[in-house]
Amino acid sequence: MARVSIKVNGKDEACEIKPRTLLVEFLRDHLGLTGTHVGCDTTQCGCCIVLIDGKAVNSCTMLAVQANGADVTTIEGLADGGKLHPMQAAFREHHALQCGFCTPGFIMSALELVAKKKNPTEADIRYGLLGNMCRCTGYENIIKAVKAGAEAMARVG
């Protein structure tokens, strides 16, 4: 067993886990944060993406022990009570989700994308989301939502 201490959505979480525990298993099974999903096993679908120290990372291709001491943000950590984060709100406004399974990963990727470039072009967004797959939307409304979300985030600072 290994002891890990990870800050998740602002809360320190410390526990004993088997070293083979993936970060996504730690989040889903140990903490009950089931908003982070597993869609593949080859690091391609992006359903499991979370932010680690602000960077978008595939939580299914990382051991929880590798995140020891890190600051992790999951989809559950974005909304302020009943008020959606501007990027979440943009996804709703632009109908950027249908089944919603891939959505948390897209939002986390979008947040890093906007952190790196405040006003991304359509091409920036398309290339910036290459690590996320969606089978429902044809990406069309996701691109629009990320653009709008970036603008909204710039407005609120």
């Binding site: 096993d41 559950e76 959606l84 109908h95 249908q98 399974f101 429902c136």
Partner: protein, 797 residues
């Protein structure tokens, strides 16, 4: 059917933002893998490493002795417990379905889908035993340790190999592997028309095997309560929905369906593959009873790709007879569906059979439709099942005819379209189309695609060394589906309008769009309407979500239920006001009477009902068989890098006549996804088997190409609303149509780009390798491109 008066609609037709979104955006959805219970054990399947093999012996002694292992079960154990094969209702049987028959006109033998087969494994990856252990890892270890002796048999991948004399039989009951052989249309009239024709164009196409691939892998948690004898399965599903799947699971487990509860709240995509039950869920329920533990199952992506029901795989030979002025005279077609190792659905074959003549007025046609067993994963419906295949054939054939005989491909289509005044129109194989304005669709599609600006874009591409092509296709599809639907509407004293329906969404926004319909029909605020789905504790009847049925059936049964609830309200209001029910009107959402001052809305009335010990509630059933025919067109532009064969889809526009559109935002969204599925099929997606072993080579997202954010262009879509006369709100269907037209449009554009090489056809998917080979072959003067990949079929063999 009487149409509902639309003049008072406030919500219908508006892009209402979704009720589903808050939970999905904040990580609070309930997907199949999100359920856990204390004390749960895990199951992992032992899967066949052969595509076709006799199971000689299963030795689980070593596995049973491993740490944490609770049980190992095989097909013999299932048989000993009296478990039954799944009844998949594989043969379409509603009133308007094309009637498929076995060889010689008899019944169709569909194989037997045992939960675990005891005799043979019939495709690579088929589960032959199950292991249950305390942890998933322990179950995986033990599954590796189960020793199965196989006697490998020759396996069949392609239908043309399966019908050759001497081919191995997938099922002893079908020694030549043929399960369907049916004929449609007027043979004599067709032959006469062909004999009199000036031109005949013919071709063979193969629309390949692909995977629906929703991003949520299969998972589930099964629970058995020994005290009550009740089973519960928490999972995700689609298609026929929990009502039918409850019957199917109960029948397979040989239990009373009243003892089984299915809960499927959020489903992470479907596209058809979740439309039929899976053995792992049934086995988990069975093991939960046998072991007295909750049993959890979760497929890896790899496992999903090995075993999820697949789609398409139709070989078609088509011929079109024409007059020298371009008028279409007759068509004949021979469609062969590869159904896989056992048959879970013949819907693709039947749906396509009814639409072979497409959007065109073709006076005579014949069709021979066959279904063939092979040693491949069972082939199921997939988004727009059956329609993309036949759309591809007729639309590509028209392009070929135009090129061959010197017609303009657009003018040739216009000349032969069914005209608005011909509706209702019965086509030459017996399908009666309800309504459409095909030529207006074409005009609109060409306008939003900037058809006129194409030549300039082509020249600009040529200056960059790229070959640009312009593609076009019309499509018509049929929406039928399970004919029964029930609505239960309760107005609660707390001010909610609860609507229970038996559909099964997997992203189609039912909680929002159904609420729009209910709100308008009952004149209540949409925020007060709650749509309840996905739990057999409350959903007792309903047909699920497939074949574009949900909105049409839901809105129809709601439009029948709403007047009854209004009558109840009038009666109650009359009672309260002390007037005759006939003196109460329902106007602008209020129950009013000229004989009293007091008025009520539904919510106020519900409180009154409670005070009187009653409830405002209606349960309404409806059965509706008449199909509708959504239709539209697609225009696209592609660019080819002739040095590498890479195809870039650069522009895409689609027009879809969905009948009355309830929520344009969600319909457009589903159209985008629908296009993406067609793009994937045309350019990227294919299942490849290792020819030696039958092992799939496309068993991960690393090998199976799909559209991405960088390979799809911006999508331009327009909704057309030609109301269908078949149902009260005039609804047809959205979400599948664009898939039907996309492959034909894209290959049309690609062939246009490559026409100077003399290329007439390219097999799908048009991967860079395939396009490069086509160009090389054309340069070498070979005709190989112009033949379909799959072998030729004899007429009336």
């Amino acid at each position: 059917m009487n149409q509902v008066d639309a003049s008072s609609f406030h919500e219908i037709g508006r892009s209402v933002r979704r009720k589903e979104d808050f939970r999905l955006l904040t990580g609070k959805g309930h997907f199949a893998d999100d359920y856990n219970m204390p004390g749960q054990a895990w199951t992992v399947m032992v899967r066949s490493p052969h595509a076709h093999a006799r199971i000689v012996r299963i030795d689980a002694a070593k596995a049973r002795a491993m740490p944490g292992v609770l049980a190992v079960f095989s097909g013999a154990d299932c048989a000993a417990d009296g478990l039954r094969p799944f009844n998949h209702n594989a043969v379409p049987s509603t009133k308007y379905d094309m009637k498929l028959t076995g060889p010689g006109g008899g019944s169709v033998f569909v194989g037997r889908h045992m939960l675990l087969p005891a005799d043979k494994a019939r495709y690579f990856g088929e589960a032959v035993a199950m292991v249950v252990a305390e942890s998933r890892e322990q179950a995986e270890d033990a599954a590796d340790a189960v020793a199965v002796d196989y006697e490998p048999l020759r396996f069949l991948e392609r239908t043309e190999d399966a019908v050759v004399p001497g081919a191995p039989a997938v099922w002893d009951e079908a020694p030549n592997n043929v399960l369907v052989d049916a004929f449609f249309g007027d043979h004599a009239a067709t032959e006469r028309a062909f004999a009199a024709a000036d031109h005949v164009i013919g071709h063979e196409f193969h629309v390949g095997r692909i995977m629906p691939l929703p991003l949520e892998p299969r998972a589930g948690l099964a629970h058995y309560d020994a005290a009550s004898g009740n089973y519960t399965l928490y999972f995700s599903t689609g298609g026929p929905g929990i009502v039918r799947q409850r019957r199917q699971f109960a029948a397979a487990l040989a239990i009373d369906q009243e003892k089984l509860r299915l809960v499927a709240l959020d489903t992470g995509g479907n596209f058809g593959t979740k439309n039929r039950p899976y053995v792992e869920h049934a086995l988990a329920l069975w093991a939960a009873r046998k072991l007295g533990r909750p049993i959890k199952y979760r497929a890896t992506r790899h496992e999903s790709m090995l075993t999820e029901y697949q789609g398409r795989d139709l070989a078609t030979k088509v011929e079109l007879a024409m007059r020298k002025d371009g008028r279409f005279l007759a068509m004949r077609a021979e469609n062969v569906m590869n159904v896989g190792a056992h048959c879970v659905s013949l819907s693709p074959l039947a749906k396509g059979a009814g639409l072979i003549t497409g959007s065109y007025d073709i006076p005579a046609a014949t069709l021979r439709a066959r279904g063939i067993f092979t040693n491949t994963v069972p082939n199921n419906v997939m988004r727009s099942s059956g329609r993309p295949e036949v759309t591809f054939a007729i639309e590509r054939l028209i392009d070929m005819a135009a090129a061959e005989f010197g017609f303009d491909r657009i003018a040739l289509r216009r000349q032969n379209l069914i005209r608005p005044e011909q509706f209702p129109y019965t086509n030459a194989v017996g399908s009666t189309y309800d309504s459409a304005t095909f030529e207006a669709n074409m005009d609109l599609g060409m306008k939003i695609a900037d058809w006129g600006g194409y030549e300039k874009r082509r020249q600009e591409a040529a200056a960059r060394g790229r070959l640009r092509g312009l593609g076009f296709a019309n499509y018509i599809e049929s929406s039928t589906g399970s004919p029964r639907e029930r609505a239960e509407i309760t107005v609660t004293p707390t001010g909610r309008v609860e609507v229970v329906l038996g559909t099964q969404p997997s992203g189609q926004s039912h909680e929002t769009s159904f609420a729009q319909v209910a709100a308008d029909l009952l004149c209540v605020p949409i925020d007060n309407v709650e749509i309840i789905l996905g739990d057999t504790e409350v959903v007792k009847e309903g047909g699920g979500s497939h074949s574009g049925r949900s909105m049409r059936h839901a809105a129809t049964v709601l439009s029948l239920a709403a007047p009854e609830l209004i009558e109840q309200g009038k009666a109650l209001a009359a009672d309260i006001l002390g007037v005759a029910p006939a003196d109460v009107d329902f106007a602008a959402g209020r129950f009013v009477s000229t004989r009293a001052n007091r008025t009520f809305d539904f919510l106020e009335l519900a409180k009154e009902a409670q005070a009187r010990g009653g409830v405002l509630k209606v349960v309404k059933d409806n059965e509706m068989h008449t199909p509708v025919f959504p239709n539209g067109c697609a225009v696209c532009e592609v660019e080819v890098d002739p040095a590498t064969g890479r195809v870039h889809l650069t522009r895409y526009a689609a027009v879809d006549d969905v009948g009355r559109c309830i929520n344009p935002m969600t319909v457009d969204g589903q159209t985008h996804g629908s296009i993406a599925h067609g793009v994937g099929e045309a350019l990227f997606e294919q299942i490849c088997l290792d020819p030696a072993s039958g092992r799939p080579l496309t068993e991960s997202f690393e090998e199976y190409g799909m559209p991405s954010s960088t390979t799809l262009p911006p999508l331009t879509t327009e909704i057309v609303e030609v109301l269908s006369p078949t149902n009260p709100l005039g609804i047809k269907s959205g979400s599948e149509g664009a898939t039907a037209g996309a492959p034909a449009a894209i290959i049309s554009g690609l062939v246009d780009a490559l026409k100077d090489f003399g290329i007439r056809d390219i097999a799908m998917p048009a991967t860079p390798l395939a396009v490069w080979q086509a160009i090389e072959n054309a340069k070498a003067g070979s005709q190989a491109n112009n033949k379909a990949r799959h072998g030729s079929w004899k007429w009336r063999a």
